[in-house]
């Protein structure tokens, strides 16, 4: 038996852990772009901010798109509720609230990540230290994930945690694609200019997939392959299909355990079926942007339904 409030805490704890890491990954990709292509750096930072959903808030505070400003805003600014620091803080507050549902190892890994990042992000980051800081963020969240997978019982507590992780991850991947969807459109360039190549690599880098892409597809970046990889590949851990495979699975476990199906089951299955049946050509033909916009909307609705169906409030 699980309190609705606890399920809510587990769900958001995991969304925020995922988000803390995603911010670091986005900054990482932006940094790489800025280092290799100084001319369009500010444009690149702008799409990083768009992917992070933080462009409006950023513009209220800064006028320059520099690595230092963006990194500060996305990593350590506590006035930005989605920054890594804010996210890890919110994740820890949720973990504290649901502490009785977590193994000691899981709680300690979150608490230690919070302590380490608080220390590391206390002062503005020297640009030279940025790679070290980004590595540290990824390492801390990896440790949390490791303790979690290694020690948690696979019960409803695990299910609600995973729902949070995959709803957040699907949202993140879809947003990254949507911000850059135009560079993937075949009408612009089939050949792939140098600029396109950088853009494509940047997309893959923001989901830590620039190496694994080559294991699956050709060594050359092709926009349809990239879109296929991030949307339809079943084995790529950040693809939309992968996320929905697990969302559907954990919802099914909950439905079986409780002996009750809800609206969220239908929503998740509908998206899963759509992804399974789809080919990347169909998606491009119908419009990549429209596809992604619909996906993001449905994914948000799934989150709301889960909260309602399982009495989070």
């Amino acid at each position: 038996m699980l309190l609705g409030r606890t399920a809510n805490g587990l769900y958001w704890m995991n969304r925020y852990i995922e988000r803390a890491e995603n911010m670091a990954r986005l900054v990482d990709a932006g940094l790489r772009m800025a280092l290799t292509r100084t001319q369009s750096a500010s444009e690149e930072w702008n799409s990083v901010l768009l992917s992070a959903g933080a462009d409006v808030a950023f513009k209220q505070k800064y006028s320059d798109y520099t690595a230092a400003n963006v990194a500060d805003f996305l990593l350590r600014d506590t006035s930005n509720p989605s920054s890594t620091m804010s996210s890890i803080e919110t994740a820890r507050n949720n973990a504290r609230m649901v502490r009785t549902a977590l193994t000691r190892e899981t709680w300690e890994s979150i608490n230690e990540a919070w302590m380490a990042l608080k220390r590391m992000l206390a002062k503005p980051i020297d640009e030279r230290d940025l790679p070290t800081v980004l590595d540290a963020i990824k390492r801390e969240t990896a440790l949390i994930r490791g303790s979690f997978y290694g020690t948690m019982l696979r019960n409803e507590i695990f299910d609600f945690s995973q729902l949070g992780t995959y709803v957040e991850r699907a949202d993140n991947t879809a947003r990254i694609l949507d911000v850059k969807y135009y560079v993937l459109l075949p009408s612009i360039s089939w050949v792939g200019s140098t600029l396109d190549n950088y853009q494509w690599e940047s997309i893959l880098r923001s989901v830590s997939a620039h190496r694994s892409y080559r294991w699956v597809y050709d060594a050359d970046y092709k926009p349809t392959n990239i879109a296929d990889y991030l949307i339809l590949n079943v084995r790529m851990p950040r693809s939309l299909t992968f996320c929905y495979r697990f969302l559907a699975e954990h919802l099914k476990f909950l439905g079986d355990d409780y002996g009750e199906r809800h609206a969220c089951h239908a929503t998740a299955e509908k998206t899963q079926t759509m992804l399974r049946a789809g080919s990347i050509k169909d998606i491009f033909d119908a419009g990549l942007h429209e596809f992604l916009a619909n996906f993001i909307r449905d994914n948000t609705r799934l989150g709301d339904e889960i909260a309602q169906d399982y009495r989070f409030y």
Binding site: M1, R5, M97, R99, M115, E260
Partner: protein, 472 residues
């Protein structure tokens, strides 16, 4: 002013005391540098585990550690037996007093406790008149604060009969000591405290409502994760294997208190609440309380839920009532109190007030309803100005204060940069009441870390020690 205090390890007169013999032998073999390292290890363990408490009004330091000292406080089996007899008697009297005060009030009729002390007291809940809690137990969990001033003299400083805290520190301190010095526990037979959560659970289950079918559902009610004792609430719920709930999780459904789960509302039979009386039910008490459950008092009066501790137990540990405890113990148990009270002047009485004002520099003066070491004056440690200011407050509202002599609380050594040094300590053993009374052999030793200080409260710079009761 320095008080000549009784040191529990090494009194000046008689030399090393028996309970510390084995520990002292071990200590002498240790490398001081290693001990300092262990001290730092302990702090790391506490931080990592998140055993912290919140200090109100301090933004930055909103999560602090209670300093932990690695020198144990050791009590012999004999000393413990004497203490437990006294505590048992006192706890029986407290429950009998509560039952009486909310029913026939015989002690008032007999003139042993003044009527106005009850009627005007905020801790007295008229809503509890005539209510008999399940199994007849009012105060289920009690933390009796005990001080020692010599080889044979123990006094009760306070009876915490509402929602005593600190038991998680008793458990974590032991856990930490066993991690740091496993070899010590092989050499010295220390009675275990680890089963406290199981005992608590059994004790709570034993006082379930009569109407409960099957195994009772127990929950711990916390004000939330921003409460100063939240760690402890979570810890106890976890160790007992019960739900940790907040007011927002609960509502009254079909005459029972129920919690909102992912599968709908589920009935609760026993609620170990760590929320104050006034926040418990906005329909009965503070209407602005968001921490409680509207209507829980109706469920309680109908006998459909056990609330531990019962609402209204505060009347038994009120500082104004405290001074009557020797009479209360005798009235209900028919015997003289085994554990004494500290002599107390009630400032509401003109003669006492006069004495207190004249001797303010020698006395400890406390607010009747205060807690946590706030709002008190330690005369000998205060400046002339502080005493004068306090005297004014006292004269303006005498009934708000009691005064006690400044006792030379016993000391116990702590490890400092310069080696061992004596510091004042007190002791809070934890008592569980159901169909029986159980006292876990140990407790929380609080220690004033500042040299010469008598204030052991964690909110005022106090620390804690592991407390050993020897199996001898």
């Amino acid at each position: 002013m320095r008080l000549a205090a009784f040191d529990e390890m090494l009194p000046e007169v008689s030399g090393l005391r028996r309970p510390y013999l084995a520990y002292d032998r071990w200590l002498k073999e240790q490398d001081p540098a290693r001990l300092t390292e262990k001290m730092q290890d302990a702090e790391r363990v506490f931080r990592k585990t998140g055993i912290t408490f919140a200090v109100y009004g301090e933004q930055e330091a909103s999560e602090r550690l209670i300093p932990f000292d690695i020198v144990p406080r050791i009590i012999s089996g004999n000393e413990w037996r004497r203490l437990t007899q006294g505590i048992e008697q006192r706890v029986q009297a407290l429950n009998a007093f509560l039952d009486d005060i909310y029913h026939r009030q015989e002690i008032l009729r007999a003139g042993r406790v003044p009527r106005e002390l009850i009627a005007k007291n905020e801790a007295f809940l008229p809503e509890m008149i005539g209510v008999r809690p399940p199994a007849g137990v009012y105060t289920h969990i009690i933390g009796v604060d005990i001080v020692r001033i010599s080889e044979d003299e123990f006094y009760v400083l306070e009876d915490n009969a509402r929602t005593p805290s600190g038991v998680s520190y008793m458990l974590e301190n032991r856990e930490t000591m066993m991690q740091l010095f496993p070899e010590l526990f092989q050499k010295i037979k220390v009675r275990p405290v680890e089963n406290y959560p199981q005992l608590l659970r059994q004790s709570l289950a034993a006082v379930r409502p009569q109407s409960t079918k099957g195994a009772p559902t127990i929950a711990v009610l916390t004000p939330g994760s921003f409460n100063s004792a939240y760690f402890e609430h979570a810890f106890l719920a976890d160790q007992m294997g019960v739900q940790l709930v907040e007011g927002q999780d609960l509502r009254v459904v079909d005459g029972h208190v129920a919690m909102r789960t992912t599968e709908g509302y589920k009935q609760i039979d026993v609620l170990y609440r760590r929320v104050d009386d006034s926040f418990l039910d906005p329909l009965t008490f503070r209407p602005d309380s968001a921490l409680g459950i509207p209507g829980i008092m109706d469920v309680y009066r109908a006998g459909n839920i056990t609330i531990a501790n019962a609402p209204g137990t505060g009347i038994a540990d009120d500082k104004a009532i405290y001074s009557y405890m020797p009479e209360i113990v005798e009235f209900y148990t028919g015997r003289k109190a085994i554990l004494g009270n500290i002599p107390t002047w009630r400032c509401s009485e003109p003669d006492s007030l006069k004495y207190v004002l004249e001797h303010i520099h020698e006395l400890v003066i406390k607010e009747v309803h205060g807690s946590g070491g706030y709002g008190m004056l330690v005369g000998p440690a205060a400046t002339k100005k502080e005493c004068e200011a306090f005297a004014k407050k006292l004269a303006a509202k005498p009934s708000n204060y009691i005064a006690q002599p400044t006792l030379a609380l016993s000391t116990c050594p702590i490890l400092t940069d310069k080696g061992l040094a004596p510091r004042h300590v007190d002791l809070r053993p934890y008592v569980l009441v159901s169909d029986r009374i159980q006292i876990v052999p140990g407790g929380l030793t609080r220690v004033a870390l500042k040299e010469g200080s008598l204030v052991v409260n964690s909110s005022q710079g106090g620390g804690t020690k592991d407390t050993w009761v020897l199996d001898d």
